[in-house]
């Protein structure tokens, strides 16, 4: 695999696809759909190839040598004396245990979402072009190791998302789209500022021994690289450093979304078309937590240690608050949206524990939430396509009408409430093991267990309101799943159950990296040992 640019391929393939699509004539609908299906399929294949060549014992995180599938070359190279005359930006991609699960997730979810996009019939060309662009952006965020590159991909997603919600969305689409856009942009400008700050606090040494500022994330993590006078340099700890941490965290928290920045999510979800909800919940939300793990944690270890409890607190609030609000929803999709607020809370809680099991659980939960919530949104889409309503109280007794569908729903719902045998259980259990294991977050973890109960409450209540009881005659004409819907739901269900029975398949990927992350953040590795990088 050495030398084969698999990451660039997996990232930019969709872009090629987009360009190709732009040259298709407008009325050519089928080819466009099949092309994008093929492309996402290839992505999945590439992801599997990547996994099959993955070295489970390589740590990554802060150590460039142990990153895998690295692609690194000078992208912007301006030589000169003053710093501005001397800008070096790398095209730097690579994966480790933190990003590989996300890459897999992105590939899978994109593929599934493409399938579920089959029903799109309004300006198909534009839709799939934007969709593929979005895909590329998401993939890029997870593989980029240069902050500049990371930021470009990060922002690259905004616009396609805006259009995908705004053009193909529901009645209040414009409102939802702009809300999403403004919220996220607000977040990302702070990220930008902190990025520049970090840029001025980090130097890398060139071959000729001269030092230049760098956007290299790994260099930013290494105290040996921080400049003496850099405003965010670890060498002169100041309030700015704290402010930058908060700024970054806020930027990412909006994506998660963390209470109280979560209000864009329900609107975006309710208005977005099904495949976009799937992408949104399946992948986009993970970028927030991924960003925190990739950037906040290793770049500001001391502040992270300082804020553990607060992060856990917000995690707890997310869990309980999201669940309670979900309990009161009347709209199926809104309910699922709030349930993801609740589930992302587990991720925060696990991360906050700063223990291997906790963070393993968190990342695993990111993956599982991706698959499970994707499935849930697909399920909503199925019923919405048929009945054109999402009101929880408009239904009833559908189990008699659509037994297979009900079967899938049951699987998804019980996965969502963390039933053993499904992947969700493992991740939530690990999160609790981790956060309970650490004295600091023990009480919060105990309170958070209420989430398990509330989750069961709203999920089962929904199940009952829609599927059980006497059949509402209005729906006696609804048909059961068709082939395409099978194709969307079956793989997800299989993944969920497989990972529930054999979680090591995923945990082993991340374990090594997470371990070294925890080591690094909790300061067990002093700067000397890694200054040699």
């Amino acid at each position: 695999m050495v030398g084969f640019p698999i990451l660039s391929l997996i990232t930019f393939l969709p872009v090629l696809g987009m360009i190709a699509i732009l040259f298709f004539p407008k009325e050519q609908v089928k080819p466009v759909k099949y092309l994008s299906l093929v492309i996402t399929a290839i992505q999945v294949v590439l992801a599997i190839v990547l996994l099959s060549n993955y070295n489970y014992s390589a740590a990554g995180v802060y150590d460039e040598k142990s990153f895998q599938f690295i692609e690194k070359f000078r992208w912007i190279n301006i030589t000169g004396l003053s710093w501005l005359g001397n800008v070096k930006i790398d095209y730097f991609m690579g994966v480790d245990g933190l990003s590989t699960p996300m890459v897999l997730l992105t590939a899978i979810i994109s593929f599934i979402a493409t399938l579920s996009s089959w029903t799109i019939n309004k300006s198909v060309k534009g839709y799939f072009a934007l969709f593929l662009l979005l895909d590329a952006g998401m993939m890029g965020v997870f593989v980029a190791l240069d902050f500049f590159l990371f930021y470009i991909f990060w922002e690259l997603m905004l616009l396609p998302m805006y259009f995908l919600i705004g053009i193909w969305g529901g009645p209040r689409k414009e409102y939802a789209a702009i809300k999403f856009f403004i919220y996220t942009l607000l977040g990302s400008v702070f990220i930008l500022l902190s990025m520049i700050g970090l840029y001025f606090s980090t130097t890398e040494t060139l071959a000729d021994g001269s030092k230049v500022y760098t956007f290299n994330m790994l260099a930013m993590m290494n105290p040996a690289n921080s400049t003496q006078d850099g405003i965010l340099s670890i060498l002169n700890p100041n309030n700015l450093r704290f402010a930058a941490y908060i700024a970054l965290f806020a930027g990412f928290a909006i994506k998660i979304p963390m209470f109280p920045f979560h209000t864009w999510l329900p609107d975006a979800h309710v208005e977005a078309p099904t495949p976009i909800s799937v992408i949104l919940a399946g992948v986009l939300l993970k970028m927030g937590t991924y960003g925190i793990l990739r950037i906040n944690y290793p770049m500001f270890p001391e502040i992270t240690r300082q804020l553990m409890w607060w992060i856990a607190l917000f995690g707890m609030i997310n869990i309980i608050y999201g669940a309670l609000v979900a309990l009161a929803q009347k709209d199926f999709k809104k309910l699922i949206a709030y349930s993801s607020v609740s589930h992302m809370g587990y991720v925060l809680l696990g991360m906050a524990s700063l223990s291997t099991s906790g963070i393993n659980g968190a990342i695993f939960q990111m993956f599982n939430h991706g698959t499970i919530t994707a499935m849930l949104f697909l399920i909503v889409g199925v019923i919405y396509d048929r009945a054109h309503t999402r009101g929880l109280n408009d239904f009833g007794g559908l189990a008699a009408q659509m037994p297979v569908y009900t079967g899938f729903v049951t699987v998804a719902f019980f996965a969502a409430i963390g039933l053993p045998g499904m992947s969700g259980f493992i991740s939530e259990a690990l999160v609790f093991v981790g956060s309970f294991g650490v004295e600091l977050t023990r009480i919060l973890a105990m309170v958070s267990t209420l989430g398990i109960l509330l989750g069961a409450a709203y999920m089962l209540w929904t199940l009952q309101r829609i599927f059980f009881g006497p059949l509402n005659e209005k729906w006696s004409s609804l048909t059961d799943l068709d082939k395409r819907e099978y194709a969307m739901l079956v793989p997800l269900a299989l993944i969920i159950i497989f990972l529930g029975v054999y979680p090591s398949a995923m945990l082993d990927i991340m374990n090594t990296s997470v371990n070294s992350l925890v080591n690094f953040v909790s300061g067990n590795i002093d700067s000397l040992t890694i200054s040699g990088l």
Binding site: S82, L84, E155, L159, I167, F181, L185, V189, L192, I196
Partner: protein
């Protein structure tokens, strides 16, 4: 005499420009029947001038040296990479404007006066060229007036609608007053220092002190004159009205070229007059007589905020772009307030990008206006579907103006913010960033009208000629490419920061 000969050699581009002007006027007299040839002549003239300008690159010297009674030699015209950079900006925009005008309905309606039109554009260019290079108050004032006078006429050139002449009058009165103020300020400075040459004044400022009040008064008056050219608050009031009233080609030209000249003048004025020396890190040491830093910070923040917030309300795209150009003037000022070569580089970079994206936006507006004769935002509903190319490029321009990756606009903003953070001006950076979030409101609003609102049968399909398509692409492609790969641009800017003296 050698001195004079040498000087003439140094101002060769200006001379060529003047010759081109003459040729233009004469040819206008010769061919009264068919004016179709005029644009080509104009284009040729600009091209030739451009060639001479490029020829001047990496070459510096003073024209019309009056190197008496001082240690350093200096003159009225400074030829240096910095000047060349801005001259190139002017050339580039002029060429584009010629192309615009070639396909602009407005201009073609007044085909018989095409000769005057281009002649006046050349007049503007001449004025800009001297503004860019002038290092003496007399020349500064004269060139400013030359620029202004031609632009007054041009802004009212097509008397198709009453708003043209109104724009002209407002521009005239406003401009005359501000140049009057400037002149008065100059006279005071002359009185205080006894010279009109920036270098002399600089050397005097470094040694002996003056009546601070009078001096500040004078400087502020001068700044009022320049500030009106770069339309920075609080001297921007003419901008929206004139931009809306003037023919769109001229609006575009004013928004880029004369702004460029104004900025060149401002920077040269500050750098040569008020900077004592430049340290190794490229930071400028200001002379302790006038607090440029504070005043410029305040003005730039005021400018961008005012521009962005007012733009929120505009339903006329020309007017909206006018406000957006005010806001960008604010961003550009950020490059100066850093008072370092870094800031200067950032600003130059931003200017190149600004030229592309702003002209691009105006081009699209113009093409649409050609078709539907209106710039109202409601007439853009669903345009993205009826004319995809225009829609997509307009979207790209607007995104770039907002400053989102992967467009060039992001690089420009990034460099400005980098410069600010490096100068530890975090607060200013934050304000600027929030401003760019606000700006998203009105830029995205256009996208909303173009895409989120479906096309109706009333929506026009703007099918532009191949030439226009090409023109749009010529501007779009660099906007995208520079967003991904921008080192050449930076290198170019880096080599252009040398300002003569010091």
């Amino acid at each position: 005499m050698a001195n004079l000969y040498q000087s003439l050699e140094l101002i060769l581009p200006e001379i060529v420009l003047s010759l081109a002007l003459v040729v233009l006027v004469t040819s206008d007299l010769i061919l009264h029947k068919d004016k179709r040839l005029i644009p080509y002549i104009a284009g040729l003239g600009i091209a030739v001038t451009g060639a001479f300008v490029i020829n001047q690159f990496n070459f510096s010297g003073f024209a019309f040296q009056t190197s008496s009674n001082t240690l350093r030699n200096y003159g009225m015209v400074a030829v240096d990479p910095f000047g060349v950079f801005f001259k190139l900006i002017v050339i580039a925009s002029s060429i584009l404007i010629v192309f615009f005008s070639y396909s602009s309905e407005e201009i073609n309606k007044t085909i018989d006066r095409l000769g005057e039109y281009y002649a006046l554009i050349f007049g503007m260019m001449l004025g800009m060229f001297f503004m860019i290079t002038a290092t003496d108050f007399i020349l500064i004032y004269l060139s400013l007036e030359l620029l202004s006078l031609s632009s007054y006429v041009l802004s009212g050139f097509t008397k198709l609608r009453d708003r043209n002449s109104e724009a002209a009058l407002k521009y005239l009165l406003y401009g005359a007053v501000s140049s009057g103020l400037m002149l008065f300020g100059i006279s005071l400075i002359y009185g205080l220092t006894g010279s009109t040459n920036l270098y002399v004044i600089n050397s005097l400022l470094q040694v002996n002190s003056f009546n601070g009040f009078t001096f500040s008064f004078a400087v502020i008056l001068v700044f009022a004159g320049i500030g009106y050219k770069i339309s920075s608050a609080p001297f921007h009031f003419w901008t929206p009205d004139v931009y809306e009233g003037a023919p769109i080609t001229i609006t575009a030209f004013l928004s880029v070229a004369s702004k460029a000249a104004g900025f060149a003048l401002l920077i040269r004025f500050i750098k040569t007059t008020f900077v004592s020396f430049v340290d190794v890190n490229g930071a400028w040491a200001l002379i302790e007589i006038f607090d440029w830093k504070t005043i410029l910070v305040a003005i730039s923040i005021l400018t961008m905020t005012l521009g962005n917030f007012s733009a929120l309300w505009q339903d006329n795209l020309k007017r909206m772009l006018a406000y957006s150009s005010i806001a960008h003037a604010g961003y550009l000022l950020l490059g100066i307030v850093v008072f370092s070569n870094q800031g200067l580089i950032a600003m130059l970079v931003y200017f190149v990008i600004y030229l592309l994206m702003n002209l691009g936006a105006f081009l699209v507006v113009m093409l649409v206006a050609n078709k539907i004769g209106s710039e109202e935002i409601d007439d853009y509903n669903g345009l993205g579907y009826t004319s995809p190319l225009l829609g997509i490029s307009f979207a790209i321009f607007l995104i770039s103006l907002t400053g989102l990756p992967p467009t060039a606009g992001f690089i420009g903003k990034l460099y400005l913010f980098i410069a600010l953070v490096d100068a530890k001006m975090i607060t200013v950076a934050v304000i600027a960033l929030l401003n760019s979030v606000v700006s998203l409101y009105y830029y995205i609003r256009v996208l909303k009208h173009m895409y989120l609102i479906r096309a109706t049968e009333s929506t026009p399909a703007v099918v532009s000629s191949f030439g226009n398509k090409l023109l749009v692409l010529i501007i779009v492609i660099p906007v995208l490419v520079l967003g991904i790969y921008f080192s050449p641009l930076i290198d170019f800017a880096k080599r252009s920061i040398t300002i003569l003296g010091l």
